[in-house]
Amino acid sequence: MKNRTPLAQSYLDRFETAVVSLPGHESRSVQALRKQGLDTFAALDFPHKRVEEWRYTNLSALTKATANEDLPSSDLDAIQTAILDAPFEMVFVDGRFSNEESRLTGLPEGITVASVAAGLGNGAVFSLSSEEDRALFALNTAFMEDGFSLHVDDHVQSEAILKITFRNESGDQNGRHIRNIISLGIGSELTLVEEHTGTGSYFSNPVTSISLSEGATLNHYKLQNESHNAFHLSLTDCENAKSSVYQNFTFSLGGKISRNEIKTTILGENSESHLNGAYLMRGIQHCDTTTLTEHKVSQNISSQVYKGVLDDDAHGVFQGKIHIFPDAQQVVGDQLSKALLLSDRAGVDCKPELEIHADDVKCSHGATSGELDDDALFYLQSRGIPEDRARKLLIEAFLADVLESISNSTVKDYFNAIAAGWLAEA
């Protein structure tokens, strides 16, 4: 028998009892899907550092624990200094949909949002699939408890922000396995803000599957402001049909160990996929951004721009891969990762990767890390600006262009306010 991590073994041991209280336990098809996920997970275990995609992120602090109380703790806490003004909000507390806290009345016609738990309870498997080689995806399938299922009808375009909040207030043995499904109809458009917050120690493992029909546009913003004692390992998959646009901006401030993994697959011509983000980390936080953009057809554009500020002993990881399939010509792919290190002990690992099998493409990538510019700092001080304020001005300046790339002005202001709140604590 294989030598499993304690946490993986504990998941396998508790599956039979846990599954009874998970949604869809009376449905055979849901049960079969869960079992399939469990088997896959059993064969894989949690990713470890010898797995190439996980070289820079060590999960042993999580996987050696079998109970929440055993998770290591930090004395820093998540700070949130601003509130987003969104007309519609769907709230999940401790992994379950809260009807009381949600505000969904008046949602424009043609936009349907529902709790995944309710769907699973009715035996609906949606378009859920299990995953062959991603352990966390498989674990999510086995233990998924809730999430949102969102559909926008053809040609429905909404400017109103739909906010989905995941608030974690108490630890749970099983962790939080959120499963979200988003599908946008032909020519539709939506702005979505996903927010993850919490207190205490817990393991959050959300999986989101997105499918964009021809001509659809999704502006997808995510704020990861989990507790500093939390593990947040998220997977987002997006499939782009012809002429669709996916814009993702992920802003990460929370979590002890966090990973934001996005895979986009471009299946139709004239599509765009823009994955941008910023991360602000301090203490012993670790933040991993891993992206994979697959261009399967010609004439597409993709970009990835991530900027990180790392203080104290914080650590950042950026792994970005652009994969251009044979005959996917006239593709433009640009990638940039920049990290600002505010302490000698902070660090970042970068692995940009281009895999190109077509000859008529334009791709670029760059990764830099550095400290605050001493010359600029002195210049500001020599004009009467105190050192502390001067440092903050320069950090804001470092983040300015990536935050400026946010197309929704309400979200832009919101994220800027949160960044300012973080800086005020520095």
Partner: protein, 247 residues
Amino acid sequence: MLEIKDLRATVGGKEILKGINLTIKPGEVHAVMGPNGAGKSTLSYVLSGRDGYEVTGGSVIYKGKDLLDMSPDVRACEGVFLAFQYPVEIPGVASATFLKTAFNAQRKFRGEEELDAMQFLKLVREKTKELGIKDDMLKRAVNVGFSGGEKKRNEVLQMALFEPDLMLLDETDSGLDIDALKVAAEGVNKLRSPERSALVITHYQRLLDYIVPDFVHVLADGKIVKSGDKSLALELEEKGYAEISAA
């Protein structure tokens, strides 16, 4: 205003200033001239408090206070202004934001009320108009993509805004054509008053045609080797540094 006594300083362990003595009274303009490597820029950085310039001896008293004891921002708030030889480019920080932040930091230090965005904009527009600076410069990031002339003009604009008591001009003429030089000099001359002093550091005499000094000092190998009135500058131009320093 400023009293420098036997000032010694090292950079990276190497002694650059080897005992400077210089007294500047209110209203006076002093020029320090010298060949490359004499310690001219080091003097300006030591006076403005840059990291890495270590004072190993002597004293600098500014308006009765120990200047060397102040952080760079406090020196600025106390009225010391260094016009940089190479003004620093700061991507991501808009000039308007920078100017307002600095201006208000200085006012706050003096216990004065800070100006709001509208009040400040009005003030800064008056100054840019006087100096012939286009308003769009305020929207651009600090010194980013500025020509040499624009950068120096930006320094003069800041001087006009902050109205310092002691102006340190570090090679303000370097990289300027004659027209830009005149504009820069005019900006400085406008600020000349019986209460305000200046230390003009330069390699060439030509700046001193426009900013006429009361005293000229020759700096060589970390020491002031000769002092005189403005005619000394002309003498230097004629004979060169080697002869004067050796004399």
